[in-house]
Amino acid sequence: MSGAVAAAPGGLRHHWRILRSAVAYEYKKAAAFKAGFIVRELIHGIERPIIMIFVYKAIFVSSGAAAIGTYGEADLIAYMLLGATLWKLVFPERGLDLAEQIFEGFITKFLIMPLRFFLMMLGRFVQYSSLQLLIASTFWLLGLLIAPAIWPRPVSAVAVAQALTLVLLGSYCYFLLIVVLNTMAFWLDVVWTLLVMVRFIVGFCAGQLLPLALMPGFLKTTLPWFFPYWMLCAPVEILLGRLGGADFQRGLLTLIAWTLALQLLAAATWRRGLRRYTGVGQ
């Protein structure tokens, strides 16, 4: 048979090329508007932990106590500052516009292309994480320059590596959860409420405002089974030297298990959702 049938592009190199293009595309989108870029990428997400510092200071003044739970005042401030820094690495719940693309029928064009649509979303995650690594580092260095007396320093370089591993893996879990919720757009009229709901829960479980040590006993035993705790609270405590290598290993295993489960769930909801996709928008 001599008929020349064009070979479908595939293989790792092809996927890598697409991912690279998707990341470049996402960077261009992010930088399209100067003010938007600065506000969205630099300022976003640090306000609540910073305000909690004032709350904790007020509590220490009111109670006159030297410690709340196992935390002294300086420790709590350090926790909040590092928490604010690391939270910048966590993928935002509104970071994908997949649901909107499904509602409006915009994904049709990708479905007829020789690519996995997931790579386009992954491009967004890679772009966000790489940029935020730079921003979080800058934020931490600026803090160190402006307020060296109170600004927290990690206990070791190993702790930094462990903490970053956990945060990025945890953020990937959150990203997958966001993908799953976005694919609900195949079935539901509205998904933003689900995303906001999940943000409330994840923020709370991650210890964004309250470290696990301050929570009641049943939460202390339950939350370590879920990925948000290992995404923020545990990495901050590793940086502060409150958790060690064994905790890191437990966290890594927990996050890997969650990653696998969420990856399978995302693939399943995407595949099932596509069967319901009509390709039309408003």
């Binding site: 470049a24 960077y27 261009k28 930088a31 100067k34 870029f37 408003q282």
Partner: protein, 341 residues
């Protein structure tokens, strides 16, 4: 019904858009965060225009010609960059509620009604906004819906209506408060022939009965030809023509379309007929075995027909005015119009 009161007055009206120049490459992209380059694009250049009360004016132009920009300036949505633009004797961009109550706007590609509720509910909101008396409102909705053939669709969600029905609802909404001036930006885009004709008739009737001044933009020449007495042609932001259809034909040295149906089938190329057409400054534009179509200057059409009758066995003949579409194409091709001789 045309009176002499001017409703729209523009002198040397211009609009320039400023857009960001996109740059390639990561370094240049990041550099763009610090220093940006802009490109200016003139969407409208020195337009002079007066529209009187009761006129129906058609605005024609290709995509990007500046039609929508002109409509948006006149409706007070965007400011002009320079020149004068007045509606009801007041700067378009500074219209007060009193003037806004006297105008209306329909955008063919952008719905102004609520997507997921029945149009009647949207109309009730418009009634509150424009403070229309209850009985008058009920009467107008019924009357307009009847005329447009959508009386039975008023309580169906907008999203469940066909494109044509949706546009008719938009038009009802625009006329509920009995405006004196209505801007319609491509109201028949994508509609079937019946819906187009219904909308054109509705606009003609409202103009005749109530003296509503209408400025209509469209890509469909039939819209303009069948509804408007006056024609504006925009190209590249410049107003190339302002006048009526006969005037356009006169200034373009209008042509006639001559169509011959032959007794016998042609054998070979009709070179003789083409030669005759050339002799009269015309051209043979279509050839089929028993049919020939010529375009020829109006003044030479009679002579051409006479010679063709001598040359060919003609069974039937029709001589028609050149379609508006051809005239507009001719204007765009020339880029400008010389004054009539």
């Amino acid at each position: 019904m045309t009176t002499t009161s001017p409703l729209i007055h523009c002198r040397r009206l211009g609009k320039t858009y400023r857009t960001l120049r996109r740059r390639e490459g990561v370094l240049r992209l990041l550099g763009g965060l610090v220093k940006r380059e802009h490109v200016e694009h003139a969407a409208l250049v020195d337009a002079d225009l007066d529209i009187l009360q009761g006129e129906m004016v058609g605005l024609i132009g290709a995509n990007g010609a500046g039609k929508t920009t002109l409509v948006k300036i006149l409706a007070g949505i965007i400011p002009k960059t320079h020149g004068t633009a007045e509606v009801f004797g007041r700067d378009c961009f500074d219209l007060r509620d009193a003037e806004k109550t006297r105008l209306s706007l329909v955008m063919g590609q952008r719905s102004q009604l609520w997507w997921d509720i029945p149009p009647l509910d949207s109309f009730r909101l418009l009634r509150a906004i424009y403070d229309v008396d209850h009985d008058v409102f009920e009467r107008r909705v019924a009357e307009h819906a009847e005329r447009l053939g959508v009386a039975d669709r008023l309580e169906v969600q907008l999203r469940q209506l066909s494109l044509g029905q949706r546009m008719k609802m938009e038009i009802i909404g625009a006329f509920l408060h009995d405006p004196e001036l209505v801007f319609l930006d491509e109201p028949t885009i994508g509609l079937d022939l019946v819906s187009q004709e219904t909308i054109r008739r509705f606009l003609r009737d409202l103009n005749r009965e109530r003296g509503v001044t209408i400025l209509l933009t469209s890509h469909d020449m039939a819209d303009i030809e069948q509804t408007c007495e006056r024609l504006l042609i925009l190209d590249g932001g410049k107003l190339l023509f302002d006048g009526d259809l006969p005037d356009l034909q006169r200034r373009l040295v209008g042509k006639r379309r001559v169509e011959l149906h032959l007794e016998d089938e042609l054998v070979g190329e009709p070179t003789d007929a083409a030669e005759v057409a050339r002799k009269h400054d015309g051209e043979l534009v279509e050839v089929s075995p028993r049919r020939l179509v010529f375009l020829v200057p109006t003044a030479r059409s009679q002579a051409l027909v006479r010679e063709l009758f001598d040359l060919l066995a003609v069974k039937d003949l029709s001589v028609e005015r050149q379609p508006l579409e051809d005239l507009v194409r001719e204007v765009f091709r020339r880029g400008q119009l010389e004054d009539a001789p």
